[in-house]
């Protein structure tokens, strides 16, 4: 119990003293996971909405694949991304293993199925007649898509939260493809693992608290957007 208080105290002192290393780690976490989420939104919403609105043979197989992807284990992604990015691997020429960019790629791979799956469910849930109505009012296909996405905004923001939550809390892939390099690719989760290994439990707890705080703040903003839209 003492240890937890120690950790809270430590978190507080690290935050108020603006410890440059902790700030750097926090900012990198935000940057990597934020960018990865954004990429996943772009791909996820396009793919999710397209699959939701079209009918083709083997569609159920595709949908179950997407849904399985929502449970994609980060370490598995980490392993495959690492092997592909090895200097002597298929994508080795890019030379980006053990960089934040590699972490963004891995996290985007993890978040994309989550966003895709939720988008798919959200768009498909909209009443079918809505589409006819929109088209009847003379909207182009693209305009229709845009209106549908706006209609599904509540669920789509949930997709953003789920995707971001999935990657900011993820450690397996980040440590493998990022290497937990001090001052370069060390994020909150990988730093927590390392400090635990070093027996610095107070710092580990402090980092966890900062991570939770960060996740809360992001979700607070997103929820604000989500719920206000609803009242309108």
């Amino acid at each position: 119990m003492d240890l937890i208080f120690e950790g809270i105290k430590k978190a507080f002192s690290l935050l108020v003293s603006f410890d440059p290393e902790v700030l750097g780690i926090t900012f990198l976490s935000l940057k990597v996971s934020g960018t990865a989420t954004l990429i996943s939104l772009f791909i996820g919403i396009s793919v999710g909405a397209s699959v939701a609105l079209t009918r083709f043979p083997g569609r159920r197989i595709v949908v179950s694949l997407i849904n399985t992807g929502m449970a994609l284990p980060p370490v598995v992604v980490g392993l495959f991304v690492t092997i592909s990015l090895w200097r002597n691997g298929p994508l080795g020429f890019m030379g980006i293993l053990y960089t934040p960019l590699a972490m963004i790629i891995a996290q985007a791979v993890i978040a994309t199925p989550i966003v895709t799956g939720i988008t798919l469910a959200a768009v498909q849930q909209l009443p079918a007649k809505l589409r006819l109505q929109i088209l009847a009012l003379g909207a182009t296909r693209l305009q229709m898509l845009w209106i549908l996405i706006k209609e599904a905004k509540l669920s789509l923001l949930a997709a953003v939260m789920a995707g971001f939550g999935g990657v900011i809390s993820e450690v397996g892939a980040s440590i493998m493809v990022g290497g937990n390099i001090k001052g370069y690719s060390r994020v909150l989760t990988t730093a927590t693992v390392m400090e635990t290994g070093r027996g610095n439990f107070d710092v580990a707890i402090a980092l966890s608290i900062i991570l939770l705080l960060l996740a809360y703040l992001i979700n607070l903003v997103l929820t604000q957007v989500q719920q206000r839209e609803r009242r309108r």
Binding site: K31, V32, K182, T196, G197, G199, F201, R228
Partner: protein, 284 residues
């Protein structure tokens, strides 16, 4: 309302720009990939040495702290430029197979057998590690192994071999597959015995309820070597930087730092510098 929405997107957009701008891979010839064991990172030694090296040479070092086994596999696959490891038998094989171009002695400390104060197998003060392992086996007392092909794990298997008892698959023998620090925590929580390098143990001592039970046996010597990966096998290996790094590790300045590292915090050094010495002369 809309403002908040836009603010959020602008914020995320800025993140992307930032991420794009400074995560562009640094020029490859200016980076060095160092694959090393968890003990050099968990003790904090590299946190002191790496910034010094970077400042001196201008290289950017990517330190990947894994077990010695994995570090050497990275070297074999050409995914690392230089290795700082402690698994002598595997290192010799690495050199014989032509994966490395040089192997130099850097420092040593020793392995110690730690365990709970109750000491169910009654091994405290034994002079022989193999004897202690035998007693643990016959008492069926919990032994926590790294189980990850690290240097420590390799040493542990050597000692079991000398002890000549069956341990694999036994109920009292558990493998964590984790780094040294985490394995020590597991051993402390479960009141088990474990073999550890002294450096990591000292760094974690304050949080562990484990005491040193067996130490000083010649077989428990823990020797660290620095090895450069063979560029003939892997043209992408940064041999210039690797050479700089291994020279740096055995330079007088670095060796002096190793000599005093940890004295202020733990009262005794965590590593003993050995550059230029012969392995046979260590621990005498």
């Amino acid at each position: 309302m809309k403002k908040l929405y836009y603010a959020l997107f602008i914020f995320l957009g800025i993140l992307v720009l930032l991420a794009g701008s400074n995560s562009v891979a640094q020029a490859q010839e200016k980076t060095l990939i160092l694959a090393t064991t968890t003990s050099t990172q968990d003790t904090g030694l590299l946190d002191v040495l790496i910034p010094m090296f970077e400042k001196k040479t201008g290289y950017f070092v990517k330190t990947i702290a894994v077990g010695s086994g994995q570090a050497m596999t990275m070297g074999q696959k050409g995914e690392a430029d230089v290795l700082l490891v402690h698994s002598p038998a595997a290192e010799k094989k690495f050199m014989e197979d032509g994966f490395g171009v040089s192997r130099r002695l850097v420092m040593h400390n020793d392995f110690i057998l730690v365990g709970p104060a109750e000491d169910p197998a009654k091994i405290k003060g034994l002079k022989s590690a193999a004897e202690a392992f035998k007693k643990i086996a016959s008492a069926q007392a919990l032994f926590v192994s790294r189980g990850d092909n690290s240097g420590t794990h390799a040493k542990e298997k050597d000692v079991w071999k000398v002890a000549g008892v069956k341990y694999e698959g036994e109920k009292w023998y558990q493998q964590t597959g984790l780094g040294m620090g985490q394995t020590l925590n597991v051993a402390a929580e479960k009141k088990g015995y474990t073999l550890t390098d002294r450096g990591t143990y000292l760094a974690l001592e304050k949080t562990l309820k484990l005491g040193i039970l067996v130490e000083g046996d010649a077989v428990l010597l823990n020797v660290y070597h620095v090895m450069e990966v063979n560029p003939a096998k892997w043209p992408k290996a940064n041999i210039t930087a690797a050479k700089f790094f291994s020279d740096f590790m055995v330079s007088k300045e670095t060796q002096d730092i190793i000599k005093t590292f940890g004295v202020d915090k733990y009262g005794s050094p965590l590593f003993f510098p050995d550059a230029g010495k012969k392995v046979e002369d260590l621990g005498k």
